[in-house]
Structure formats: C-alpha cells, structure tokens
Amino acid sequence: MATHSEAQVWQSARLALRLGRRSIVLTALLVAVCGMFCLVLAVGSVSVPLEDVLRALLGQATSQPAYATIVTQFRMPRALTALLAGAALAVGGVQMQTLFRNPLTDPFVLGVSAGASLGVALVVLAVGTTGASVLVGIGLLGDFGLAAAASFGAAAMLLIVLSFAQRTQSILTLLIVGLMLGYAVSALVSLLLYFSIPERIQAYINWTFGSFGGVTWRQLPILAPLIGVGLALSFALIKPLNALLLGEAYAQSMGINLRRARLGIILSTALLAGAVTAFCGPIGFLGIAVPHLSRILLRTADHRALLPTAMLLGALVAMLADLIAQVPGRQIILPLNAITALIGAPVVALIVIRQRRLRDAFNA
C-alpha cells in the first residue's frame, strides 16, 4: 500500500504541475503581449520614447506633440490590427487542425482566402477592362473598396463550403472540396492576371504581400467586431472541439451534435480568416504555426487552455512580425508574408524536429 499512496502523491504532483503550467504560460503571454504592444507603438521609422508612448496611450501631452499623433493615429491602428489578426488566425488554425485532425491545415484550407483573392483580383485587375460600373462601386465604398471586395469573395466561398458541409457526411470530402475550390479560384485569378496590365498586377501583388498597415481607425470598428464574434463563437465551441480530439464517433457518443459543431467551427474560422484576409491580405504561416507552438508550450491539446494561449501567442507573433517588417529606423517596409515565413518556417521546422510530442499529437 505504501508504494500505492506514493504513486498517487507523485501523480497528483504531476497533475498540479500540468495545471500550473497553464496559468504560467497564459500569464507570461499576457505580459509579453502588453510589452510587445508598447514596443510596436514605440519603434518604427521614428523612435518614440516608451515614456511618451505611455503618455500618448493615457491621453497626456507628449514631450514632442508629433509623438502623440504618430502613436495614436498611425501606429495604434496598425498594432491593434496585428493583435486582432494574429489572434484570429491562430484560433482559426487551432479549429481547423482539430476539425480535420490534420496538422497541416490552416484557417485558409476551406478556400476563404482564395475567395477573397478573387474578389480583390476582380476589382483591381478587371477595373481597366470592364468599364465604369466597378469603379463607381469602389468610389462609393471609398477606402473600404478592397476590403469590401475581399469580404464579398470570402463570404461567397464560405457559403459554398457551408452548403457542402451541410450535405456531406465525411469531413475528408469537405477538406478535399475546400482544397479543390481553392485551386479553381486561384486559376481564375491567374487568368485575370494574364489579361491584366502591369500596373494593376503590381497593385494586386502588393495586396498579396499582406500588411497590417492598411487598416485605419475608420475600418477598425468593422474588423474588430467581426473578429470578436468569430473568437466568441470559437470559445463557445470548446466542448465540441475537445470531444473531437477523440474522433467524431466518440464525440457523438458524448452528446455532441456533429453537424452543428462542424458548422459552428467552419463559420467561426471563415469569419476570422475572412475578416483578416479582407483587411490585411492573405497572411500565411501564422495560422498553421502558432497552434503547434501553443501545444508545445502547454503540453496539452485541451482547448480550454489551447484557445486562449493560441490567441495571445498569435497576437504576439503577428506584432513581432510586423515590427521586423517595418525595419526599425529605416524608411522601407518589407512584405509581411515574407517575414512570417522566413523567420517562422525554420523555427517551426527546428521545433518539430526536436519535439516528438508534436508529431505524436497527430499520430504522424
């Protein structure tokens, strides 16, 4: 009996450690996100002292009046956008990886970004050839033009995928349909590119680079609630997501309505990925890497810990990538997608090679 109770003490200690790890990870990430937020506001083509950043945030006078404008008018919307987009893509990635039980899926696997690309391509590339009607539309929408076009494309794709999800039983079928739709839509974009003029192609390519800088204070009130709703929906789906870790049959046996859970997860992810793509362009990599990094940090796939962790880590990584893309102290801005992939890919590859657990996580 002695060894028995010893084993139990040892076991409860290990359990406590696992639970402790969750609060440590979350607290550390929260602090890091706050710190990074201030840093992003301070660093750029012009450096603003941290003291002045805090003053500007609190609405007090800064040592130089220009600092307040730089921080609140230019850097703040950008930082908030990065924060929101990072959180959205990471949570979307977690949901897709759980739903499809596949470590290589990202929030765009359902073709949402392809749909958005087509929307943007239609507006940017076809303007010259289809005449005034589209131009009038853009004119009416003002600086919402690209975002509106992308949202429209993403939403159309979402409706198609949802109608498929309603009909098909197999989650694998849905994955393949999503991928094929993505290819088909990309092909349409290629055709548009082929028949377009260089200036417009350049404009389209600029959009595909991705940027957090295009979102103004006028657009944030649209982006933020969309992402808020997507995140809230995701948190409401914690139970189905956890049940799906054991597979669909087990989930069903535990009282989960599979059809409803599936639609909820797809809707939430499409909302998150669609909103980000519409306002920031197709930002790759974050959505696939951050969920894995979060699992490694937590050592659990329990979504009650995983979703908040991915949210914070996604925000952190997005802000970091944006910081690097702006090349502090210089006047140039590098393509965001190049930064996320260039820095992120080797890091993730290294971690995956070292971490047996991650591969185990998907029985790969």
Binding site: L246, G247, A249, M254, G255, D302
Partner: protein, 333 residues
C-alpha cells in the same frame, strides 16, 4: 441488480441502399440487457456484430422494430439524453496524444458539465473513481501516447465509466491486445459489470474468453438469426459448433476450445496424470492422433516424472516422442 435496462422488440437491422429493398442483416430480434451483466456478442466476420451494436447504440436506425431503454425509444431520444444512457469504447484510436490519461477520462464527463466543460468537485471525484476502478490511477498524468495498448484500453474504459451511463458498449475491446492483456481486460469488464451494476455489451472474436467470462452470450449464426443464452447452454445445444463449423477447424464441446482438424494418423492412449499427461495429450492431438482412454500396449504412451516411454524406448522431450510417433505413423494407423 439485474433489472432490465434495454429491450429490443422485433428489431431488424441492416442497410437501406438507394431505392432498392433494404439489405437486412439481422431480423426479428427480441433482446434484453440486464444491469450488472456482461454480455458478449460473437459471430463470424460479416455476421452483423457492428451493425447490431450501432443500431442498439442509436448510431444507426433500425429497418423495423424498436430499442427501448426503460420506456424511451432510443432512436427518438435527443443525442444529449442518449449520452447519459449509453457510453462506448471504440476500436478507433484517439488521434491526439497530447492529452493525459486523466484528461481523456475527464472527457467522459462532457455530458454532465456546463458549456465550458469545467469539472466540478463531483466530476473530479467521478474521474478519480473511474481511473481507480480500472486500476489506472497511476497512469493519470501520463500522455496517452506513452501508454501500451492494454493501458490505453483501460483508460478508454475508465472514460466510459466516467460518463456514468447504465449501459456500456464496447466494440472488440480485446482486438489489439496480447493474450495476457485480453484476459485482464475481460476480467476487468466482468468485475465492473458485477460491481458497478452496469450492463456491458461487447463484441469479440475471443470465443474461448467469451465462454469463460460472459454472463450471457449473443451468438450470431451468420444467417440473420441471434441465439442468446448462458455460454454453457449454447455449447450444449450445439449452437456454438454449428456457427463456427468450417473446414479445418472444429469446436470441441468437451474442452470448450477450437481444434485444428489435422489429418488423423491413428489412435493412442496416454498413461499418467497431471500437467505432464495433459500436455502430452495436447501434443499428440496437435499432430493428428486421436487420444483414447484405453489401448493395447503398443499404442500406449507412458508419462513418467521426467520422460516418456513408448514401446520400451525412453524419450527426453515431447518433440523427440512426437518425431518417433510420426515416423511410425504408418504402423499406428
């Protein structure tokens, strides 16, 4: 104890494919499951074991008839209510292994928790009890990827226990286990049925184990009928032998085991008793001799405490004895 938990009335199971007539796998079944009893569902591949289990668990609709738990028709119940009545252990492996055995077991509490899935004190107590009931409390903090097949199966059984349902269905719970683990899991399930009062139904290919462990057996004959009864009744009625009769294998009712029908080489008798005599008989039967009680001296094998004697020659091992017998089998036939 031993109340009726589930009844199936005039149940026909099978598949509706397109517009044609449905493919009936089993027809007109009248079945009951009692609390505190372990029932083993056996039958050859394709006899309809999983179709029946799926229909009873309300995963699949019946072609005719109905399944009741108490007075409730399971196929009319909302899925949330069903999750409080039936829990399952499937052959499907959990994909993620970044969950600890404790977390997997705790997932069994899903039908009982609020929308966040947070565990209350009661939930934690139930999870602890379930892990203890299967003897897996020492595994609680280990990731399920690190567990052996047998340990993992115990945790999946603990998860089903934690769901606190009067019925537990298990789809071939012993399929991927080695022999000692099979015996262990079956003994565990039998104990759980008797001690926790749950009605446990499992499908299995381990006939020998089912005969020894089950309180009742549901035997599918492969022609759409099901015979239910105590294992021994089914053996005595010959139902077992008929169901599993096939070329080269025969069910031996006297030992309750299956025998390979080797070519008959002749008859012999074994003199001696105890373990050595038992295994001597097994060896002779294996190579195709019929073992009788009494035979004349040339057909008699004597078992001594350290060797075997046949026709005046001593053999130090059964291998040597069998070789000699096979050499002489033309004379023995």
């Amino acid at each position: 104890m031993n109340q009726t938990v589930l009844t199936a009335q005039q149940l026909s199971v099978g598949y509706r494919a397109g517009r044609g007539a449905p493919a009936v796998v089993l027809r007109d079944l009248n079945l009951t499951l009692h609390s505190g009893a372990l029932v083993c569902l056996i039958g050859q591949n394709g006899a309809g074991k999983s179709t029946l289990m799926r229909t009873l668990a309300a995963v699949q609709r019946p072609l005719a008839g109905a399944v009741f738990i108490g007075s409730e028709d399971v196929h009319q119940l909302p899925i949330k209510r069903l999750a409080r009545l039936i829990s399952v252990v499937l052959t499907e492996r959990a994909q993620t292994s970044l969950l600890s055995a404790y977390e997997v077991t705790a997932l069994g509490r899903l039908p009982h928790t609020d929308w966040t899935g947070r565990l209350s004190e009661t939930d934690r107590a139930v999870v602890d009890w379930a892990l203890q009931a299967v003897g897996a409390q020492a595994l609680a903090a280990r990731p399920i990827s690190e567990l052996s097949d047998g340990e993992r199966q115990k945790v999946m059984i603990a998860r089903a226990l934690a769901q606190e349902t009067p019925l537990i269905f298990l789809d071939e719970p012993t399929a991927f286990l080695d022999l000692p683990r099979r015996v262990e899991v079956m003994a565990l399930l039998r104990r759980l049925a008797h001690r926790t009062g749950r009605a446990i139904l499992l499908s299995t290919h381990d006939l020998d184990l089912a005969l020894r462990s089950a309180d009742r057996i549901w035997l599918l004959d492969g022609n759409g009928a099901l015979q239910a009864g105590a294992p021994e009744d089914l053996v005595l009625s010959g139902a077992f032998a008929r169901t599993f009769a096939s070329e080269g294998v025969a069910f031996d009712a006297s030992s309750g085991t299956f025998k390979l029908c080797a070519e008959v080489r002749g008859a012999l008798a074994v003199q001696g008793d105890g373990l050595r005599a038992f295994w001597t008989r097994r060896a002779l039967e294996r190579v195709g001799f019929v073992v009788r009680e009494q035979m004349s001296a040339p057909f008699c094998v004597q078992v001594t405490h350290d060797s075997w004697q046949w026709q005046g020659v001593r053999y130090g091992s059964l291998e040597a004895l069998v070789a000699a017998l096979l050499n002489a089998s033309a004379d023995l036939a």
